[in-house]
């Protein structure tokens, strides 16, 4: 481990116990079975199963994550996510309608009249991120005490949007300071029982570790195979910086995640996507041949005459194939970028001062899943 090279040395007078690593006890096969079965059920239910699959994935990851010998627990349920989604829908639909009408007026005035509307949705997305995090945190239990969150989703959304503006103006250079400021807000309002959280990472520290990636980013547009390397390294830097900044009272997290640790995962995902894409193309070719032979026309003729766009058989086959393809990609993403990433990041963590969490009083109320619903409806994600 190389964590000593960059961790600020603690007060030398205290004889502190050795840092506590975090263990993960889940089996990869079990997780694969879980997401495979989930994808099948998503197929059967045309996607409605997503609420329960998300819940099952979290239950698996949480329960097998062991801190100081005790496994965590996720107490959220799929039904809560479904209700959150439905409520979010009931709120979003009138907003979308209003958006349509206002957009119509704005279009008449021309020019950049529709930009404030996009900004509004951005604000809403940030609100969703905050509230979704609150839901997840209040469903996280360790040693019979839950995590919870205070703070206001709208204040967070306002902060995030103003910082987002600054990031845009500085072409991304202000990103580390934005992340640090938002993390400080979120962690300051996070609690484990009566143990208040805080975030000690600084934007400058993040910048020092990642500035060369920022410089390299434009190169990606020319040499695209570099993208997984740069993105993978960036994510590793971000994870390590984020985890090392987390505090709960006297409990201090520290991560020694090497920069190269996640790059392989992104390449594996790309490889699988290529393989699946190839299979899907072959399947489409087969389906087209079948449809052409059923219609009784020459293969070339079938496509020249635009006949193929009207063939129900081909459309149905292509639709089903596409659905399977999308679900297979979801399995790949969940295995590599959810489970494997989770495990690799966990392995890098050391916890100092865990004894501060030995006798924490339970506090905090459960939060509803509205934020998760918004995040689902608006397609945003984040911690």
């Amino acid at each position: 481990m190389n964590e000593m090279s960059w961790t600020p040395p603690g007060p030398p007078s205290l004889p502190s116990p050795p840092p506590m690593p975090v263990a993960f006890s889940g089996s990869r096969g079990e997780f694969f079975h879980l997401v495979k079965r989930g994808a099948g059920l998503e197929f059967v239910t045309l996607g409605f199963y997503r609420f329960w699959l998300t819940t099952d994935i979290r239950r698996h990851l949480w329960t097998h994550t062991q801190i100081d010998g005790d496994g965590a627990e996720y107490t959220g349920r799929g039904k809560e996510l479904l209700i959150g989604f439905l409520v979010a829908l009931a709120i979003l639909v009138p907003i979308y309608l209003g958006y349509f009408l206002v957009g119509l007026e704005a279009e008449r005035v021309k020019a950049f009249a529709s930009i404030p509307l996009i900004a509004f949705f951005y604000l809403f997305g940030q609100f969703a991120i905050f509230r979704a995090r609150r839901y997840r945190l209040t469903r996280t239990v360790w040693r019979g005490v839950r995590f919870w969150m205070s703070g206001s989703g709208w204040i967070y959304a306002l902060k995030a949007s103003l910082w987002g503006l600054l990031v845009m103006v500085t072409l991304g250079l202000a990103m580390p300071w934005r992340t640090a400021a938002l993390e400080r807000y979120k962690m300051r309002h996070s609690y484990y029982g009566d143990l208040q959280g805080s975030f000690e990472g600084t934007g400058w520290e993040f910048f020092k570790r990642g500035w060369w990636l920022w410089l390299l980013a434009p190169v990606v547009f020319v040499v695209w195979p570099l993208a997984p390397f740069i993105y993978g390294a960036f994510k590793a830097v971000e994870w390590r910086w984020w985890l090392s900044g987390i505090r709960f009272g006297g409990v201090r997290l520290e991560s020694g995640l090497p920069r190269s640790r996640l790059i392989g995962l992104y390449w594996k995902v790309i490889g699988w996507m290529a393989v699946l894409g190839l299979i899907f193309s072959a399947y489409l070719g087969l389906a087209a041949t079948l449809a052409a032979s059923v219609s009784g026309e020459e293969f070339g003729e079938f496509f020249k005459s635009q006949e193929f766009s009207k063939s129900i058989l081909l459309l149905a086959l292509a639709g089903a194939g596409y659905l399977m393809f999308a679900l297979a990609i979801n399995i790949v993403l969940r295995v590599y970028l959810v489970r494997d990433l989770w495990v690799r990041v966990l392995e890098s963590i050391n916890i100092h001062g865990i004894e501060a969490a030995d006798n924490v009083s339970a506090r905090g109320e459960l939060a509803n899943a509205l934020g998760e619903g918004f995040a689902d409806g608006l397609d945003v994600a984040g911690f």
């Binding site: 006890s25 889940g26 089996s27 079990e30 059920l41 059967v44 239910t45 045309l46 996607g47 409605f48 199963y49 997503r50 329960w52 819940t55 099952d56 239950r59 949480w62 329960t63 097998h64 062991q66 005790d70 496994g71 627990e73 996720y74 107490t75 349920r77 349509f100 119509l104 279009e107 008449r108 360790w142 040693r143 019979g144 005490v145 839950r146 484990y192 029982g193 219609s295 005459s305 006949e307 766009s309 009207k310 063939s311 129900i312 459309l315 292509a318 639709g319 596409y322 659905l323 999308a326 679900l327 990609i329 979801n330 969490a357 030995d358 006798n359 924490v360 009083s361 339970a362 689902d376």
Partner: protein
């Protein structure tokens, strides 16, 4: 203590749900499950209240309905855990399991069926009822937005050299008056080679020069213009907008999460909406036939123009094509055809002017 055989006991870890304190306890299986730390009894759980909580493999984690919601007992000894499972009859009542999955699949299918039913029957009905309620001013505004988009999309200018414009106005006025519509209806010819014509919301009708080039007489063009006015009269644009919006929203709801499902949404939407737009086309054809009858002119020429433009379409299933087959439309217009009872709508001289409306010398 009476001298009876000691009930079985086992070791466990206990969290009382009020603090994070980790306690090594012994469990005594009496009438109730007794949780003891040495001699002090910490809690006693009735077996019927005990529920399973999520735990890592190799550990039985329990909660109780009568204890604080987050109080947990963790049993690692497999034999003792099996004994506990046997004693707690309602252990798995709250655990998401097979029965739950069947219920989810069942409800999802019910939701799917209801969404499909709403898409097939509810949305078109709502569109039919709502379209007439939309104020004209709003529809015209929509038309203005669409207008500028159409012009950029086709990169087209409005044609109108003096002689051609005069002939076009004569033709459109005759049709408009026969249809009983006021001057909010505006028609223009656009300089584009695409052989097509369409009506925008709010009553603006556009005909592309490409269609004029393919036409052989004024009756053909009159039929097409009347057809587009039919769309305006039936408010097909508004209906289509409501229907398409509602359908894509509902279908989107259905496929929700599955990554990049927009292609799927688009495909299934076009299947559903095209059958309705075919009905709209047939109604517009009917309107056009009526107008031509009023003008005392034959209806067959429009059908001939259509076949000339599209060619024979005969083969295959046309369930997703938005217009009816040109042959079928020609057949209908031939059936409804009546010999001319009134003079041609344009003189040969005017017809020639109209054909060359986009020729140079025209003003914009």
């Amino acid at each position: 203590m009476p001298d009876v055989p000691k009930p079985p006991a086992g070791a466990a870890i206990y969290f009382d749900g009020k603090s994070s304190q980790r306690r090594a306890v012994t469990l005594h299986l009496g009438d109730r499950l007794e949780i003891r730390d040495g001699e002090t009894m910490l809690a006693a759980w009735a077996y019927a209240d005990i529920r399973r909580a999520d735990g890592p493999s190799g550990m039985l984690r329990l909660s109780s309905l009568s204890a604080p919601p987050l109080a947990r007992l963790e049993i690692r000894d497999a034999a003792f855990a099996a004994d506990m499972v046997a004693r707690c009859a309602s252990l798995d009542e709250n655990t998401p399991g097979r029965r739950g999955v069947v219920a989810i699949v069942g409800w999802s299918l019910a939701a799917t069926i209801s969404i499909v039913a709403v898409v097939l029957f509810g949305v078109p009905l709502a569109a039919d009822r709502l379209a007439p309620l939309v104020p004209d001013a709003f529809e015209r505004r929509l038309g203005e937005v669409a207008d500028s988009q159409v012009r950029t999309l086709f990169d087209a200018k409005v044609c109108g050299n003096a002689a051609g414009e005069k002939a076009f106005v004569k033709l459109t006025t005759a049709i408009r008056e026969a249809a009983g519509m006021d001057t909010t209806v505006q028609s223009s010819v656009l300089s584009s080679a695409v052989p097509n014509a369409f009506a925008l919301p709010g009553g603006r009708v556009y005909m592309f020069n490409g269609l004029l080039a393919k036409a052989e007489n004024a009756d053909e063009i009159a039929g097409v213009l009347a057809h587009e006015l039919g769309h305006h009269k039936n408010r097909d644009n508004m209906r289509g907008l409501i229907r398409d919006g509602g359908t894509s929203f509902l279908v989107g709801l259905l496929f929700g999460d599955i990554t990049g499902s927009s292609a799927l949404i688009f495909a299934s939407r076009s299947l559903v909406t095209s059958s309705h737009s075919r009905e709209a086309e047939q109604d517009a054809d009917g309107f056009s036939i009526d107008i031509m009858h009023k003008l005392g002119r034959p209806t067959k020429p429009m059908g001939e123009l259509l076949v000339r433009v599209t060619g024979k379409e005969g083969k295959g299933l046309s369930i997703i094509s938005s217009h009816p087959l040109s042959e079928d439309r020609l057949a209908r217009m031939t059936r409804e055809n009546r010999p001319a009872t009134k003079p041609p709508l344009l003189t040969p001289e005017e017809w020639r002017s109209l054909k060359s409306i986009c020729d140079s010398g025209g003003k914009i």
